[in-house]
């Protein structure tokens, strides 16, 4: 800044200094302004729900053409640029740490998105295609339809016509479990596709083909949608990662190999502290809190 000011001649310096003295009035109270804003938003929301019962789906193809026109006209008034085009063609829904998001897609399918996960889909979803891309974990309840519903995640994908299933993809680990209906799971090679029916799950890793289907042994499955951790010979490292995402905390191990301990059991995961205590008991370890991190030792 100083460097910049030094380059100015005497007159410019004067303008520079004078312009900083121009008085602006006090800003109105932001809280009051927000209250008025919120009222306006509520009124408009009530009106738009009457117009199109599909709030808050971003540019769902089922929104009535009239509303699309209204949005387009509002846009034309304000700003038109390539920004809009990109945002218009892809929609992304993000669930942050310690957050779970429920969304209803344009075709009526519902998706529960687990913490630290993201779902994307391109323009025309529900009309020309039903393709979504997932990173993280989500539970799908897909409406029956003529267009196949395809979920892509890294090198693998799942294809269905209408069913309930969960996809877990963290790091390179993939788990697909089916609660209702039938899904096709594809890895890297077409010929190695497998078909899962209700009550079946499969574990495999990114870049490979799915292995042999296994039976789902638990009633409330997948655990996360019932707020519980279902552990079946699961290593401590994976469990702690899950807890970190769910409660937005940091967990470390006093020594690396502790992460390899496997635990089996079901933990009700409503609150953080009881979860850690139960986990410590199951793993026959202790934990302490230092600065902002929980340390298992």
């Amino acid at each position: 800044m100083k460097h910049f000011e030094n380059k100015l001649d005497r007159i410019m310096q004067r303008i520079w200094e004078e312009s900083a003295k121009i008085r602006l009035p006090e800003t109105p109270d932001t809280n009051d302004a927000w209250m008025r804003m919120e009222q306006l938003m509520d009124i408009q929301e009530a009106e738009s729900i009457q117009k199109a019962a599909v709030e808050p789906k971003a540019f769902s193809p089922f929104i009535k053409p009239k509303l699309v026109w209204a949005v387009a006209a509002a846009l034309a008034l304000t700003f038109i640029s390539p920004i809009v085009y990109n945002a218009y063609t892809t929609t992304s829904i993000v669930a942050e740490r310690a957050q779970i998001k429920n969304v209803t897609l344009a075709d009526g399918s519902t998706v529960k998105i687990n913490a630290e996960s993201e779902l994307f889909y391109k323009k025309g979803f529900g009309k020309n295609h039903r393709n979504v891309i997932l990173s993280g974990e989500a539970y799908f309840d897909v409406e029956k339809g003529d267009i196949p519903f395809i979920v892509e995640f890294g090198s693998a994908s799942v294809e269905v016509l209408g069913t309930e299933f969960n996809i877990h993809t963290r790091g390179t680990d993939i788990n697909v479990s089916v609660l209702e209906g039938i899904v096709k799971v594809s890895g890297t090679e077409d010929k190695q596709d497998i078909v899962l029916t209700a009550g079946q799950k499969v574990n495999f890793i990114q870049g490979f083909n799915p292995g042999t289907p296994e039976k789902i042994d638990h009633k409330k499955y997948p655990g996360w949608i019932y707020n519980r951790l279902i552990l079946d010979q699961t290593n401590l490292r994976a469990v702690c990662k899950e807890i970190e995402r769910k409660f937005n905390v940091k967990i470390e191990f006093a020594s690396v190999d502790l992460g390899n301990i496997t635990v089996t059991g079901i933990i009700e995961a409503d609150e953080f502290n009881p979860v850690m205590e139960t986990l410590a008991t199951l793993a026959q370890r202790s934990f302490k809190f230092e600065k902002d991190t929980y340390i298992i030792y």
């Binding site: 100015l8 008085r23 602006l24 804003m37 808050p56 846009l75 945002a87 993000v94």
Partner: protein, 181 residues
């Protein structure tokens, strides 16, 4: 740009009202001063700022979270100001009167007449003669007192560009202020 704003914008896009509230609180004062500087009318500025945020909310589905939020609201509010001026112009056309900004009632009476005149003149030239980008940067720098680095971050420009635009603004001001300095 900061991850915080990216996340907020992403959440707003997904109709998260709490995220929108946070953005509103963060940018309302700056945007208000930005608009009032141009309009010299607090009530009107309040309306335009509210309208700007409302438009963002109504068009949230088309938000690009990667774009700087202030750039967007500066653009929308500027367009709304133009709309207002255009409307005024139509109203006054028959009276053969050029709409002049009202005398700001927030002038500091302690300051000497000459200083106020100079400041008013700067104010007028910034609004009438600076190109859009230049004007936004100049206001953020001089009236909001932001350093070049922060302006660059808010508008997603390089620091170099900010400096060049400020220099350009001063050159234009100097040209128009010859009688005063």
């Amino acid at each position: 740009m900061s991850d915080g704003e990216l996340t907020l914008l992403q959440n707003v896009k997904n109709s998260d009202k709490a995220a929108f509230k946070q953005l509103f609180h963060q940018y309302y004062p700056t945007l208000f001063r930005f608009v009032v500087f141009r309009l010299h009318d607090e009530d009107l500025a309040e309306d335009i700022v509210q309208d700007t945020f409302l438009r963002v909310w109504n068009n949230r589905a088309t938000l690009d979270p990667k774009k700087r939020f202030f750039s967007l609201i500066a653009k929308i509010s500027t367009n709304l100001c133009y709309d207002h001026f255009r409307y005024q112009e139509v109203r006054f056309r028959h009276k053969d009167t050029v709409p002049k900004p009202e005398q700001s009632h927030y002038d500091d009476p302690q300051k000497s007449q000459e200083l106020n005149e100079l400041q008013d003149e700067i104010n007028r030239i910034v609004n009438e003669h600076l190109p859009e980008k230049c004007r936004v940067i100049f206001i953020l720098s001089r009236m909001e007192g932001l350093v070049n680095k922060d302006i660059a971050a808010i508008l997603d420009l390089s620091k170099r560009t900010v400096e060049n635009q400020l220099y350009r603004a001063l050159k234009i001001l100097k040209k128009h202020l010859q009688d005063y300095l």
